[in-house]
Each structure stands twice: as structure tokens, then as C-alpha cells.
């Protein structure tokens, strides 16, 4: 027992060491890359004047954020923004895949709707916010619908082109196996379209964040955008910079999670 385990342990230890070296090298190179930013922030901290109305040093940002947190504003705002973005992304994916799939499958539909959709797509998404605020009123549905409107197009366009580039053999396989409509969608089309759909979602996510923040800024509905705008209106520079860091990490985390999900979902062995 012991004899058979020893080499395995040695290999495991070797692998562990190699992994540790690898990880250390990675961390070091990442740290090197962040060095200018860290140095800049440190210099700012050391040389900056805490009373400066424009460039408050980083420690005051943290203090401002702690103030906000203890006032009970920050966590609900992050949550509100996250909820709208997540719900809108799910809705936009569903709608985009549905409409995009139909348009991709039917050339007649594409001929009819193409130019109209093209015009809607070129409308800068932010311009929809005031329009929706007037039409629907300032409420959650309005916020959700403007984010969906912005996030819809990348998913829709990617699905359409995905459907169009499906290999004809796939359709023949479905026909020769005599799959039902539902089985066709779940077993053939969705797996084949997954890469295009996920690319669309990744393009849509930053747009969704931007439009969500803008809607909160313009309507002052609860969320990170509203907090940011109020801080600016109060000329609280420390809080503005602090919230900017929060928003930055918010976007960074959502992008990273989507990227991780994409690589997991597209890994051949990930799907059984």
C-alpha cells in the first residue's frame, strides 16, 4: 500500500511544486503589470492633499465608501444595479435567441424586417432612456426595458449569423433521426448555437451595465448610477472616486464571470 503510494505522492508533490512556481510567476507578472497603477495611487496618497476638492487621495475614497456603507446606501445600490443587469441580460438573451433564430431561419422574414431592425439597432441605446422614462414612467419596468433594448442587438445578430452558418448536415441529422421539434431545438440547435449566443451575451453585458447606470443617473432610481450622480452634485470628490472604483470592479467581475461561464460551457468535456 505504502509502496504503491509513494511514487504517486512524489508526483503529486512535484506537480504541486510546479503549480506553486507557476502561480507565483503569474502573480509576479500580474503585480508587475499593476505596478504603475499602484505607484500612482501610492504617490497620490502620499503627496495628495486630503482637503483637495478635485483630487482627494485614495484613503479618503475608502473613508467615503465606509460612510456610505454604514449609512446603508452602498450595498442596496450595488444589489439594485446587479439585479437589473442580470434580469435584463437573461430577458435579452431569451428574446434575442428567439427573434434571431426566427430571422436566421426565414429569409422572407429577414427581407421584411431587416432594414427596420437595422435602424433600431443603430439608435444609440442611451437615447432610449429619456423616451422610455416619458412613455412608461420612472419605474422598474422602464429600467428593465431600456437595458433589454440595449442588450438585445448583439445577441440577436449573433444568433442570426449562427443560425445561418449551421452546417446543413446537422439539419439532415435531425431529419433522419426523426427528432421532434423540442428535441431538435434542445439537442441540435441550442448546442450548435451556444458559441454564437455566448459571444453575443458577452458583448451585451458591458452595454447593459452602461445603460443601467445611465438610467439610474437620469431618473435617480436607486442604484450605483444614482449614488454616483448625487456624489457629484454634492461635490463629494472622494465619494465619486470611491464609487468609480466600485463601478469598475462591478463591471470587471461581471465580465470575468461571463468569460469563465463561457469557457466552462464551451469546454467539450464540460457538457456531458
Amino acid at each position: 500500500m505504502i509502496a504503491t503510494n509513494a511514487p504517486a505522492q512524489a508526483i503529486a508533490a512535484g506537480r504541486g511544486r510546479r503549480w506553486a512556481i507557476h502561480a507565483a510567476a503569474n502573480t509576479w507578472s500580474a503585480l508587475q503589470g499593476l505596478l504603475p497603477l499602484i505607484v500612482l495611487l501610492l504617490l497620490w496618497q502620499v503627496l495628495g492633499d486630503p482637503r483637495s476638492p478635485y483630487f482627494p487621495p485614495p484613503s479618503t475614497w475608502a473613508a467615503a465608501l465606509i460612510d456610505r456603507t454604514s449609512a446603508g446606501d452602498l450595498a442596496p445600490a450595488v444589489l439594485a444595479t446587479f439585479q437589473s443587469v442580470a434580469a435584463a441580460l437573461v430577458l435579452a438573451t431569451g428574446l434575442g435567441v428567439g427573434i434571431g433564430g426566427l430571422i436566421g431561419a426565414s429569409p422572407a422574414l429577414e427581407r421584411c424586417l431587416g432594414p427596420t431592425l437595422e435602424f433600431l439597432r443603430t439608435l444609440p441605446p442611451p437615447t432610449i432612456v429619456p423616451v422610455a422614462a416619458l412613455l412608461i414612467g420612472v419605474n422598474q419596468e422602464m429600467k428593465l426595458s431600456v437595458i433589454v433594448f440595449a442588450a438585445l442587438w448583439p445577441v440577436l445578430l449573433n444568433t442570426t449569423s449562427g443560425v445561418r452558418s449551421l452546417h446543413p448536415t446537422l439539419l439532415e441529422v435531425a431529419r433522419s433521426l426523426q427528432l421532434g421539434a423540442i428535441a431538435q431545438v434542445t439537442k441540435i440547435f441550442l448546442p450548435a448555437l451556444l458559441p454564437s449566443i455566448l459571444t453575443g451575451v458577452r458583448v451585451a453585458a458591458p452595454l447593459a451595465i452602461i445603460v443601467s447606470l445611465l438610467a439610474e443617473m437620469l431618473t435617480l432610481m436607486p442604484g450605483l448610477g444614482a449614488l454616483l450622480l448625487m456624489a457629484q452634485r454634492n461635490f463629494n470628490a472622494a465619494e465619486v472616486f470611491g464609487l468609480l472604483a466600485v463601478v469598475g470592479s462591478f463591471g470587471f467581475i461581471i465580465n470575468a464571470v461571463l468569460a469563465a461561464f463561457e469557457s466552462w460551457a464551451l469546454m467539450p468535456q464540460g457538457r456531458s
Binding site: A30, R111, G114, E118, P125, V131, G225, V240, L244
Partner: protein, 261 residues
Amino acid sequence: MRSMLRRSRGALNPSALATALVLLAAWEVGVRAAATRFEFLPAPTEIAQALYGAIRSGQIIADSVHTIACALAGWAIASVLGAAIGLALAFSPIVHRFFGASLELLRPLPAVAFVPVAVLLFGFTVTTEIAVIVFASVWPVIVNAVAGAKAIHPRLLDTAATLHLSRTQRLGKVILPAVLPATMVGARVALGLALVVAVIAEMVGNPAGLGWGLVTAQEALQPGLMFGYLVATGTLGVLLNACLRLTFARLFPGIRELQQS
């Protein structure tokens, strides 16, 4: 991804025109018959009237000129800056090692969140607007310039070395021409972004231009004018993209990615 758009834009086919007209007519009838539950939804004819009035009075023209001027100025700065940063990242290992990760960290920062900071620093001015536009539209140029530089065939650089070209000669005769196509593709993406961000910055930062016009029309409860601004902004986006495509196709007939919509 763009094939659908290219084909549908090539010729505005009769069926597409008919569909658009039917949709507009349904909208008009729906509003006239008060069948919709949106009290502020204007009929298409009202929108056309308001738009016509705003064009006659010069208001919407002046706003468009302001927005386009800011978008173009920011875009030009972002293109030059992005190409320079991209080349530095691609050709200097030191710059790449020490600045790569910092730039990656700044990239996903949503452009809107940057507006309040710019307002604090520059006030409600054109500088704020252009700063935000530059910040937002520099990224596609950087990314594409780096990709273009990475794709330069090593033989080109070997040739430059064999010919004993100086640093500046190598840059001007080998690297820039090779990197230009990719950078231009990035610049085209950047122009679309620049227009969008200009409108955003006008909504919450600099009170001027189409974005501000849109918000004031909303606050003044003038739905016709507001939709007029919406139509103007959308049309401007289409026109700008088309102009850019034609100009680039004329200037760089060899770059195929630029001919597509």
C-alpha cells in the same frame, strides 16, 4: 455577424419598405384610435411635424453639429492616442510588462461612470464631453493596433533589419503600413462608440447637443420633439457610418474588413 445587415442594406427591397410602412401606419392608427395605453406616445405624423419644425428653426441642426463636432474631435484624439499606445504595447516588452495589466483593469470601466469624475475635474464643459469620448473610444483602437502589430510577419521585420533601416525608417516604412489596416478597423468601431458616448456625456455632463436636447424635450413633456431628436440621432449614426465606410473604402481600397457595413 454582419452579413444580414450587409444584405438588407444593399437594396431597400419593396417588402422591407412595405413592412416598415405597415408598422408606421399601425402606430399612427393605434395612437389616433387611442388604443395604446401610453399617453405620451405621439403619432408618426406628429413626430414628423415636430422634427420639421425643429429643422426649420435650426435648433436640431445646431445640436447635431455640436454632437458631431465633439464626437469627431474625441475620436481623432482617441485614434492617434490608441495607435501610439497600441504600438508601444506591442513593440516594447517593458511597456507591455508594466502597463498591460493596468490598462486591462481600466478597460471595463463603464464610460458613463467616468462622466461624474470628468464633471468634477472640468465642470459642465466641452472638455468634459471630449475627455469622456476619448476615454471610451480609445480601447478598440488600442486592441486592434496591438492585434495588427502582433500579426506582422516576422519576415517583414527581418527585411527591415537586412536593409539596415533606422528605427524611424522601420517605423514609417514597415510597421505603420502593416499596422494601419487593423488600426483603421478599430477606428471605425471607435467612431460608433464616440457618437454614443457623446450623447451620453451630453445627457449627464455637458448641457448641449443632441443628448441635452433629448433630455430637455422629455422634461418639457414634448414627446413629438423628443422622438424627433431620437430619429435625428439614429439617422446621424447611419449617415456617419456610411460616410466613414465610403471614405475608408476610397482611401484604403485594399482593406476588405472596411468595405463591410
